[in-house]
C-alpha cells in the first residue's frame, strides 16, 4: 500500500461534518485493513436477506409463481383425479410422479430462466462488482426452489387428500416430501448450467423444451410402464426417472430398481452437472 499522506482538512471542510468523519476513516485506515472484514452475523445476514428478497422477487412474479405452483396440481387433477376412475393405486402412483414433476420446475426455472434473464440485463454485473459472496446467489436460489417445492407438494397433497382416496402414513408423507424437496438439487445445477449458457430472450422457451419432454420421457405424466420399450430404456438415462422411482419406492409402486442404483445415478448426475456448471461459470468470468 502506498504511504498515506494525510493532512488536516482545510477550514472549509471542517464545517462539513461528513467530511470530518471521512478524514477520520482515512486516518484510521492506516492501521485498520482488518476492519474491512465482516463478522459471522453480518455474513449470515447477507444470506438471509439475499434469500428473503429472492423469495419476494419470485413470489411477486405471477408469471413464475402461478404456473410453478398450479401446473402440477392441475395436471394431477386432470390425470390423477378426473381421468382416473377412483383407482387409489393410480392416484398414489401419479401423486409421486407429479410431485417429481413439480419440484423439477422451480429448480429449472429459478436457476435457468431467472439467472439467464438477470444476466442478460447486466444485473449480474452489478452483483459481480459488489462484494456479495457469489455463493449467496446460489444458496438463495436453492432455498427458494426448495420453498416452492414444498408449496407444490402441499398443493398436490391437498388435491390428493380431498379429491382422491389416496392413503399414506405419516412416515410415507414425510419421507416423500424430504426426498422430493432435496431431490430437486441436481435439477438446480442443471438449471444453473442453462442459466449461464442461455440468452435471456430464449431461456424460458429452452428451459421448457428441456423440462417438458424430459418429464414425459421419464414417465412423470403417464406411468413409465405404459411407454414403448425403447422409451423405457431411454428413461434409464434421464435423472427425473430415477427420482420418481425413489418416490414410487416409498409407496411400493416402483418398477423394481434398487434404491442404491437410483441414488448412485442421481449422485452421478449431480456431480456431472456440478462440474459442468463450474466449467461454464469459469469460462464466463475469466475473459
Amino acid at each position: 500500500m502506498k504511504t498515506i499522506t494525510h493532512t488536516l482538512p482545510s477550514k472549509q471542510n471542517i464545517s462539513n461534518t461528513h467530511n470530518v468523519n471521512r478524514s477520520q476513516t482515512i486516518h484510521s485506515s492506516q492501521t485498520m485493513n482488518n476492519s474491512q472484514t465482516m463478522n459471522i452475523m453480518q455474513t449470515l445476514n447477507i444470506y438471509r436477506l439475499e434469500s428473503k428478497f429472492e423469495w419476494l422477487k419470485s413470489i411477486r412474479n405471477p408469471a413464475f409463481a402461478l404456473p410453478a405452483i398450479l401446473f402440477p396440481a392441475l395436471f394431477y387433477i386432470f390425470f390423477g383425479v378426473l381421468m382416473n376412475q377412483h383407482n387409489p393405486q393410480a392416484a398414489t402412483y401419479l401423486l409421486c410422479t407429479y410431485g417429481t414433476f413439480g419440484v423439477i420446475g422451480p429448480a429449472l426455472f429459478s436457476f435457468g430462466a431467472g439467472l439467464a434473464v438477470e444476466r442478460g440485463q447486466g444485473w449480474l454485473d452489478i452483483k459481480d462488482a459488489s462484494p456479495m459472496p457469489a455463493s449467496a446467489q446460489i444458496v438463495s436460489r436453492l432455498l427458494v426452489s426448495m420453498a416452492f417445492s414444498m408449496m407444490i407438494l402441499i398443493s398436490l397433497g391437498l388435491v390428493a387428500f380431498t379429491m382422491t382416496s389416496v392413503s399414506l402414513t405419516i412416515v410415507q408423507v414425510l419421507t416423500l416430501s424430504t426426498l422430493l424437496v432435496f431431490g430437486g438439487l441436481p435439477f438446480c445445477l442443471l438449471g444453473l448450467i442453462l442459466g449461464l449458457l442461455l440468452k435471456a430472450e430464449s431461456a424460458p422457451a429452452v428451459v421448457n423444451l428441456v423440462y417438458l419432454p424430459m418429464s414425459f420421457l421419464s414417465g412423470l405424466w403417464i406411468p413409465i410402464t405404459m411407454l414403448p420399450d425403447f422409451l423405457q430404456t431411454l428413461a434409464e438415462f434421464l435423472p427425473p426417472f430415477h427420482l420418481s422411482q425413489l418416490a414410487l419406492k416409498v409407496v411400493g409402486l416402483d418398477v423394481g430398481g434398487s434404491v442404491t442404483k437410483h441414488l448412485a445415478i442421481l449422485a452421478l448426475f449431480t456431480v456431472i452437472f456440478f462440474v459442468l456448471a463450474m466449467l461454464v461459470s469459469n469460462k464466463k468470468t475469466i475473459r
Binding site: M1, K2, I4, T5, H6, T7, L8, P9, S10, Q12, N13, N16, H18, N19, N21, R22, S23, T25, I26, N33, S35, Q36, T37, M38, Q42, N45, I46, L49, E50, F53, L56, K57, S58, R60, N61, E118, G120, Q121, G122, W123, D125, I126, D128, A129, S130, P131, M132, I286, R287
Partner: protein, 306 residues
C-alpha cells in the same frame, strides 16, 4: 469555484487506485494501449472517449472483472476485484434492467448488507434523491429513476472509490443536477470518483482531471481548463441568413455548424477569420467570440489523425 476545488484536492488527496502500463487486447485487437492513470481520493477523474475507445474495458479492469494482459493495477494497495477492494468501492454500471419485483428500499437494504460499514439508509436515499419512491417497484421506474436507483446501490457501501459508467443517461435536467450535486458532495467527503461519460458538460462540470481515450490510448490528460487551453481554437458565433457553406471558405476556419439560430465557426486564427468575415459581411448580427469549450477540444483531439 475552480480555485476552491483546487485547494481542496491539494490538501486532502492521495492515490487510492492506479494503473501503470496497462495493455489489453481482445482477439489480437488492442483495446487498451499502455495506459497510466491514478485515481485520487476527493477527486473526480473523468474518462472521455468515443464508443469503443476503451472506457468500459478500463473500468472493468479497475473493478477486477477483466484481467489486463500486462501492466500493474492496484486498488487500495490490493488486487483489483479482491474482496477487500470491493468492500471499499462502489460501481454503477450500465444495466438494461433490474429485477422488477423488488422495491427500491429492498434493493438498497440488500446492497447495504454486502458491506462491513454501509452508508446510512437515509443518507443513501437522500444522495440519490429517492425520498418519494422508496416503496416503488423497480418495474415502475423510468429510465432516469432507474439510474438514480443504480447510483444509490453504488454508494450503499459508503465507498472510498466510486465508479460511475455513464451515470446520467436517461436523466432529465433536474435529476442530472441532483446527481451532480451528489457527486460533488461525495467528492467533498473524500470519495475518489471515476466517471465515464459521453456528456461533455458533465465532465466539464465535475472533473478535476480528465483522461481522453482514443482507440485505447490516452491522447490527452489534464484538468478541463488545461485540455481546453491545449487547443488553439476559438469559436466565433453570429446570426446570418446566408448558407453555412459560404463560411467554410473563410481563412483558418476548421468547422462550421449551425447552433439554434446562430452559426458557429471554429477557427485556428481568430484575427484572420474575423477580418475576412467582417469585410464580407459588414452588418453581421449578434457577433460573439469565445475560446473553445471542452466539446471543441474533444472533437479536435479525437478527430485528428483518423
Amino acid at each position: 469555484m475552480q480555485l476552491k476545488d483546487t485547494s481542496e484536492q491539494n490538501t486532502n488527496s492521495r492515490v487510492i487506485a492506479s494503473a501503470y502500463g496497462l495493455t489489453k487486447s481482445f482477439a489480437g485487437k488492442k483495446a487498451l494501449d499502455n495506459i497510466d492513470l491514478e485515481v485520487k481520493s476527493g477527486q473526480v477523474l473523468a474518462i472521455l472517449g468515443a464508443n469503443g475507445a476503451g472506457k468500459t474495458t478500463l473500468i472493468n479492469i479497475l473493478l477486477g472483472r477483466l484481467n489486463a494482459d500486462s501492466g500493474d493495477v492496484s486498488v487500495f494497495g490490493v488486487k483489483a476485484g479482491s474482496l477487500q477492494a470491493k468492500r471499499q468501492a462502489g460501481a454503477m454500471l450500465q444495466v438494461a434492467n433490474l429485477p422488477e419485483t423488488l422495491k427500491i428500499k429492498e434493493h438498497i437494504q440488500l446492497f447495504q448488507s454486502y458491506y462491513p460499514h454501509p452508508m446510512n439508509y437515509q443518507q443513501v436515499i437522500n444522495y440519490a434523491g429517492l425520498q418519494d419512491m422508496q416503496d416503488r417497484y423497480s418495474k415502475k421506474l423510468s429510465g432516469g429513476e432507474k439510474q438514480r436507483l443504480l447510483f444509490a446501490l453504488s454508494i450503499c457501501g459508503d465507498p472510498k472509490l466510486l465508479f460511475l459508467d455513464e451515470p446520467s443517461v436517461g436523466m432529465d435536467v433536474d435529476a442530472r443536477q441532483g446527481l451532480w450535486q451528489a457527486i460533488r458532495d461525495l467528492r467533498a467527503a473524500g470519495t475518489g470518483i471515476v466517471l465515464t461519460t459521453h456528456y461533455l458538460e458533465e465532465a466539464d462540470n465535475l472533473a478535476d482531471n480528465i483522461v481522453l481515450l482514443k482507440q485505447g490510448a490516452i491522447i490527452r490528460q489534464g484538468s478541463s481548463e488545461e485540455i481546453k487551453a491545449s487547443i488553439n481554437q476559438t469559436t466565433i458565433r453570429f446570426s446570418s441568413d446566408k448558407k453555412l457553406s459560404e463560411f467554410k471558405q473563410l481563412p483558418a476556419v476548421i468547422r462550421v455548424k449551425s447552433k439554434g439560430k446562430f452559426i458557429q465557426l471554429q477557427t485556428e486564427d481568430v484575427n484572420q477569420t474575423l477580418l475576412a468575415l467582417l469585410s464580407a459581411n459588414p452588418n453581421l448580427q449578434n457577433l460573439s467570440v469565445f475560446s473553445a469549450g471542452l466539446e471543441e477540444a474533444f472533437l479536435q483531439l479525437n478527430g485528428g489523425g483518423k
